[in-house]
């Protein structure tokens, strides 16, 4: 009796998600089957509900898969698709390699320091993302901080800005908190007596780590990797600002199609393809999340 009443609280969030999240996807799907015209809004056919059922029929007849056909014909889309997945995958791997030692290091610290360090990991996340990426331009550009520093020790100069390396650096930098926190959450929860038991049974500290700590932390690693991979695959700001013209990623393609080319159907079709690709990792993420929370 009490339970169902708490369930009533779900009504408003439910409606909100339906209107502002679920329903718009249908619109994206619909638009991806339309074609471009020089008008406002720049696509056809349009659904006019005032015309009733006949209007709906003409609307349906006007839909076509031509935009998708265009996607398959142009190499650019396939290249962008593949490099999005490759860069996001690579960045997720790098994030694991870099984030794990940090999370593990924090978990080993005394409780007071742990709290402050977790805070320190979150803090940059509270400052503007755009600004933090912008800071990397100043560091990586040819006459930037990095090359100045390398020059002092007689090295360089290196050309990093406007390459894939710069995009990877930016991604790792921006998403590091999202990798460290889930990892830290599982590592912090680990029962210290498990390690002691392993060592008591003859394991060296290193093998105790590999055989006990590491396997137990895998759910956190999976959650962190997915939490980063999914939005990174559609990332726009980082490839746009750090990647130069040669780094193609789907987020940028959607942005360019939409803002520069005013090709709304193409932007929608690319979004649908990206979404279809990400459904599997999203479902995996939700499974992991449910496990972590239960």
């Amino acid at each position: 009796m009490k339970r169902s009443r708490s369930g009533l609280a779900a009504i408003l969030p439910f409606l909100w998600l339906a209107v502002f999240f679920a329903f718009p996807f249908l619109l994206v799907g619909k638009l991806s089957l339309s074609h471009t015209v020089l008008a406002i809004p720049p696509y056809a056919p349009q659904l006019h509900l005032s015309q009733g059922l006949p209007g709906f029929r003409t609307f349906l007849a006007g839909l076509s898969g031509e935009t998708y056909a265009r996607l398959t014909q142009d190499r650019l889309y396939l290249d962008a698709y593949l490099s999005s997945l490759r860069i996001a995958g690579l960045a997720a791997g790098l994030l694991l390699l870099i984030g794990y030692p940090i999370a593990y290091g924090i978990a080993r610290c005394p409780p007071k320091a742990r709290q402050a360090l977790v805070m320190a990991v979150i803090l940059p996340f509270w400052t503007s993302f755009l600004i933090r990426i912008y800071a990397w331009i100043a560091i990586l550009k040819p006459a930037g901080v990095l090359n100045a520093a390398l020059g002092l020790v007689g090295l360089g100069p290196v050309e990093i800005l406007n390459t894939e390396t710069a995009v990877l650096i930016g991604l790792v930098y921006a998403y590091l908190p999202f990798m460290v926190l889930p990892l830290y959450a599982v590592l912090d929860r680990e029962d210290e007596s498990l390690i002691e038991a392993a060592q008591d049974l003859g394991a060296t500290p290193l093998s105790a780590f590999w055989r006990v700590t590491f396997p137990l932390s895998l759910p956190g690693a999976a959650a962190g990797a997915l939490l980063c991979f999914i939005p990174m695959a559609g990332e726009f700001v980082i490839p746009d600002l750090l990647g130069g013209s040669e780094t193609l990623m789907l987020g940028r393609v959607i942005w360019t199609e939409f803002f520069a080319n005013r090709d709304w159907p193409a932007a929608s079709a690319v979004a649908i393809v990206l979404l279809a690709t990400l459904v599997v990792p999203i479902v995996l993420f939700e499974r992991e999340q449910a496990k972590v929370l239960s």
Partner: protein, 261 residues
């Protein structure tokens, strides 16, 4: 007993923190650089701050962003409280999985997709794009974050406190308002702050859903950044970082003092 950190552990943490903070420190330092070039230290100067406060477009953008942030964060927090109550207390109500799934999906959804789909919604609904469309979009974007923060706190909330209030004569809604809300208030405030900063920070969704007269600060910054490094941006960034850091650290210290372990 927990083992202390090894040298490797300490090195990882120190390097990680250096990586996280170096760009921010560089940004702050160069906002006081008299020279326009990042590699040349032209002496200490606040000229970029002065220039910033004469840039009316920038100031307008800051004002729009602040209003959008406050409104959307408030909306997202209200929705987040409701969603968290449903998820934590709802037990086995139908659609709990769908609600949780929808919320986590907005959390990871690439912003480009979210922005595009929201734009199409507003076009279809015939809403003129501007202040309100950005606000609604930002509430949608940040709803997942507020829900997660409040859900975590509500999950560890001792339900017997609410029962005690009912036992002493409070109807359920009043027990929630008099006991639960004040107790979880720090988490609700943190959720609001998080939503506010996310809104302050968003470029992609604002670009899609905003219209004339509602240019937000990130949109303004983005168009400036594309034109090249401008020390004025360093100045505005430093101000932003200062405001947020002060707020976050103040909240953190306050909570430390309030809740001795």
């Amino acid at each position: 007993m927990r083992r202390g950190p090894s040298t490797f552990n300490i090195a990882s943490v120190v390097l990680g923190m250096a990586f996280l903070y170096a760009p921010i420190v560089i940004l702050v330092v160069y906002s006081f650089n008299a020279s326009r070039l990042v590699t040349v230290w032209g002496g200490f100067s606040t000229r970029w701050y002065a220039a910033l406060f004469q840039d009316q477009q920038m100031l307008d953008a800051i004002w729009v962003t602040a209003r959008v942030g406050v409104l959307s964060a408030t909306l997202a927090t209200l929705l987040g409280v409701l969603a968290a109550v449903a998820l934590v207390r709802g037990g086995g109500f139908r659609g709990r999985t769908i609600l949780a799934g929808g919320i986590y999906a907005t959390l990871v959804m690439p912003e480009v997709i979210l922005g595009l789909s929201l734009l199409l919604l507003f076009v279809a609904a015939g809403l003129p794009r501007g202040f309100w469309t950005v606000t609604l979009s930002h509430a949608t974007l940040t709803l997942a974050y507020t829900t997660m923060v409040i859900q975590a706190r509500l999950g560890s909330f001792d339900i017997s406190l609410e029962e005690a209030a009912q036992d002493l004569g409070c109807p359920p809604w009043k027990a929630f308002a008099l006991i639960t809300l004040p107790v979880i208030a720090p988490a609700v405030a943190a959720a609001w702050m998080l939503a506010f900063t996310l809104s302050l920070d968003d470029l992609v969704i604002a670009s899609f859903t905003s219209g004339p007269g509602a240019t937000t600060l990130p949109m303004r910054l983005y168009s400036q950044v594309r034109l090249g490094v401008d020390p004025k941006i360093n100045a505005v960034s430093t101000l932003l970082i200062g405001v947020v850091a002060t707020g976050v650290i103040a909240v953190y210290l306050l909570r430390q003092r309030r809740a001795p372990a």
